[in-house]
């Protein structure tokens, strides 16, 4: 049994079937990336894995347990955490409070403080803005905060939805370096990213989603060489 296993997942939004029987697996310690066009169902898949959307059929198994019917908070406590698309930070709360909320499921104060220090090492910008309300941060800074907040929970499986969105080129490279580092520290990563080239460069394996279906799966290196993938997602 894999670390995370998804079998034949079907999720509908009203009349639209956004996931049409998706199956995939993530092994412990891997970085797995999902690539695909806008509307292919990547975000829907992450939202279903987090329990925000309910699948019509199919099963999600995490470390041997069937988590399909679980509520979001229970899934988070089990260790599946995501940094959502579109930087859903708590705009009226300070940077510090946002990070504290990231550690909501934890009680170990000293370790939380240590992890916050770690987040500041990754994103020094956040430390400068510690007491500012998150709504006054620039778009890129909000993105850093969303990622830092997800890390504060000490996830076992970290799902990142477009982590490089809105970040400057220098910082995009930095983010991918950070994801690799987090992974080396033992966190399994499921990465959704439009920047497919860089995502494939750091991932172990990848899946290509198209209109709610997995149309290809392979090692990241093989996908990066694949003629179809290069043409469709890597800009030739």
């Amino acid at each position: 049994m894999s670390f995370l296993q998804v079998d034949n997942l079907v999720t509908r939004y009203g009349a639209i079937t956004a996931l049409q029987g998706v199956s995939l697996r993530v092994e412990e310690g891997e970085i797995v990336t999902l690539i695909g066009a806008n509307g292919a169902g990547k975000t829907t898949l992450l939202r279903t894995l987090s329990g925000i959307l309910r699948p019509a059929t199919g099963a999600i198994t995490f470390r041997g347990e069937n988590i399909t019917p679980w509520q979001t908070d229970r899934i988070v406590r089990a260790g599946i955490v995501q940094s959502p698309e579109g930087r859903l930070v708590f705009r009226g709360m300070s940077v510090r409070e946002n990070l504290q909320l990231g550690a909501y499921t934890r009680r170990d104060r000293d370790e939380i403080a240590k992890d916050m220090g770690h987040v500041f090492e990754l994103f020094p910008r956040l430390k400068e803005r510690l007491n500012q309300s998150a709504g006054t941060l620039s778009g890129g800074e909000q993105q850093m905060l969303a990622i830092g907040r997800a890390l504060m929970s000490r996830p076992k499986l970290l799902m990142l939805d477009e982590p490089s969105l809105g970040l400057a080129p220098l910082l995009v490279r930095e983010i991918f370096r950070i994801v690799e580092e987090i992974n080396r520290e033992g966190v399994t990563v499921l990465l959704v990213e439009q920047n497919a080239r860089q995502a494939l460069a750091i991932a172990h394996r990848g899946y290509v989603l198209q209109t709610g279906q997995v149309v290809m799966e392979d090692t990241a290196a093989a996908l990066a060489q694949n003629e179809v993938v290069r043409k469709a997602y890597l800009g030739g």
Binding site: I35, N38, R125, G140, L167, P169, Q194, R197
Partner: protein, 286 residues
Amino acid sequence: MSRRQGSGIRDPGSGVGDQEPGVRDRGNPGALLRLESCTRAFGGLVAMKDVDLEVHPGELVGLIGPNGAGKTTVFNVITGIYEPTAGKVLFDGKDISGRKPHQVARAGISRTFQNIRLFRALSVMDNVRIALHLRHRHSFPAALFRTPGVANEDRAQTEEAHRLLEALDLGHLSGEAAGSLPYGEQRRLEIARALATHPQLLLLDEPAAGMNDQETDRLMEIIREIRRVFGVTILLIEHDMGLVMGICERIYVLDYGEVIAAGLPEEIRADPKVIEAYLGVENDEL
């Protein structure tokens, strides 16, 4: 540096902002938009410092810089969401600094937002039609009784909305709820809605965010196309260097609220300050 950008761009000390009020468009008579030593502070934090910037009619200009450099603040000062603490914003030769956002919009500047702002529950078509409605106003009784004039104009508006949606590759989605569209398509819908007010100047805040390379390539074609068809001048903020270098004729680089470089794409790409602050030393993507 480009010849076209006029004077004073990298020289905040030239005192352009000190001129007397009422002097119209002194420097370059051709500028559609002109920021003169614009500064905006929030308490002690100076988000934008002595920014000089010009956009000429028909131009496509890029504004880039690290996260938190103040790019969106520049847009907010131009569109009247913030009043500049010092300096002036001239549009079409008129001083518009301190005007309210709706007045700026009516003067001919339209924008999209980094955090998408659509009427999520309304259809794609209705999002555009609302913007069109803002332009054409009927008297209340005329609208109430649906006079022939109103009905004709409604038809004309629906046609125009279709035309805008087609231009942005959204024609096939006109009946969908805006909130149900994927991110990239919501961004295009924002552009369609911004165009519906027939702006002279269109400000795009990270239009390619959330798009893959292929979609970004298509967006570049769309932006070129709307400039040609709608004759609109464009100033855009973007981190996708493929897009910025690919379509912008001139580029301004902002860092810590100040313009650190301005010029043609090839000049910007080679500028050591820009490489250090923004692009990174080994840039394999350019």
